[in-house]
Amino acid sequence: MGRIERRFAELKQKGRAALVTFVTAGDPDYETSLKIIKGLPKAGADIIEFGMPFTDPMADGPAIQAAGLRALHGGQTLKKTLKLVKEFRAGDKETPVVLMGYYNPIYVHGVEKFLGEAKAAGVDGLIVVDLPPEEDVELCLPAIAADINFIRLATPTTDDRRAPAVFRNTSGFVYYVSVLGITGTKAPDLKSVEKNVNRLRKHTKLPIVVGFGVKTATQARAIAKSADGVVVGSALVSAIEDSLAKVGKPSPKTVKAVHSLVSDIARGVRS
């Protein structure tokens, strides 16, 4: 049993949904980013998603795009992202870590090399936005062979006809994108989220977590009623941005700003 599966099993016993937190690796710089993730489990994160910065994140909204550029300007690379995971893993053997990003940096690094290094660093799952099931031979199947979960995005356009293809080679959990559009721009329509989550359950036994546009404890609490987990991303990334002393430079408030927002939303998920 991998860390992700184990974590969802534990939470099921506790009878509550998972809080999945997303921050961009290396935002605003390596050291601050490491402090941020090290403190996330204590603040209430059950699963950690780490964005691998890319110059052209076509599915992300302004907040996450800006975070990626801050990290890249700060010298973040794929190698350094793996190093961050390794350092985090040295102090935390249990919290699942999922890397999320776009295919090009992985492809250029070399798929097999990347998977070997990611596994060794303690990565549990991958979400690669621009790899739909039609491209499973690229990374999905090799990742499964390397014992890393390949987590798929399902969207409001994933209808009953398409769902079987989307879930065929997926594992870990399913990430339901609650709105049509890019990250962090529109608020999810809670009724349609519930309806779609229930619809997708007919196609998969995997836990379904819901993200894109979740910003507050109240939204998180409402989504946690029907889903197995809630992802908070853009809101945390915006908290980093708002806390900066100047562009790209952390202030003494940066780390705390993220952790207190996570604690707040965690209370929503757990209530």
């Binding site: 690094h109 621009d130 739909p132």
Partner: protein, 405 residues
Amino acid sequence: MTTAQVNSYRTGPDEKGLFGIYGGRFVAETLMPLILELEQAYKDAKADPSFQAELDSFLEHYVGRPSPLYFAERLTEHLGGAKIYFKRDELNHTGAHKINNVMGQILLARRMGKKRIIAETGAGQHGVATATACARFGLECIVYMGSVDIERQKPNVFRMKLLGAEVVPALSGSRTLKDALNEALRDWVANVEDTFYCIGTVAGPHPYPEMVRDFQSVIGVETKRQMLAREGRLPDSLVAAIGGGSNAMGLFHPFLDDKDVEIIGVEAAGLGLRTKKHAASITGGKPGILHGNRTYLLMDDDGQITEGHSISAGLDYPGIGPEHSWLHDMKRVQYVAATDKEALAAFQLCCKLEGIIPALEPSHALAHVMKVAPTKPKDHLMVMNMCGRGDKDIFTVADILGVKL
């Protein structure tokens, strides 16, 4: 990378949208159902003679096709070698080849019942063509354009507005063409129900590279017919400029299986291939994944996309259509590059010798013609695609020549 022999260079892409290892459908899940819907709609339209008949009619009466195949006599005399012909696609309505593809896609969008059209543009030529066709059919038109490009291509921005389009600045990243493409994709993800994305070049997820190529192939089909009528035989060589590569693919594709026809694509070498300031994806890049397809890209060691640079905003893109990448690996097409300086010299020569102000994009092709034509015998027939006119570029050129307008 395969270099195995093939019987035909014209059968791609396969059912997965691949040309060898290039192409594909590297998009977010939200877009997949739309891309599959588009693929089916295009297949149906292609099989429907009434679709092609409607397109042919608009190409003739609205765009002004066929464009002439013109013997550039004075240039030929000046260079003293190959007999040079221009395929005059700069005479099309809106002043470039872009409208060929736009008419096809807009007729397809109408067929699919889509009422809202989005497009990306760099220099503004594809944006103007899209705005034009949308005005003609009464469709809503939104054009994404990098804020840097908006600043340097003001006349085209105003043209699009006159035609009723909304021009939305892309403010992220490098704020040029690649970012305009990102913004258009983001718009599409958010407006999947009613929106048709009209891509301007032979790139993007399958079926765009194939579809745009098919719509642009009218250039090569006409060239073949016109050359046979004129000279009684096929040309010996074809030369075209390449940014994303749609004008080149349109000219090249009908000739790919004519093995004796030498085919040359000219990328933008900017300030030189040894500097980082160029936009030559094949000559100076390596394979990667961006904007829905695998192809040659400009990037750093970490796989981060770098900026292209060219005097010509239309060539200033860090990628190239996937079919070009395949044709390069197969060695069927030779890819070379011309610098800003060489293109500018060609631009000036063409104005003076032929009375044609070329766009800066085909000026790159012309720069290569100037290099190779003198080495060819007088019976060598060379066709260069004059894919756009230079009115839009006079401000850039005046600026470089130090002339205040």
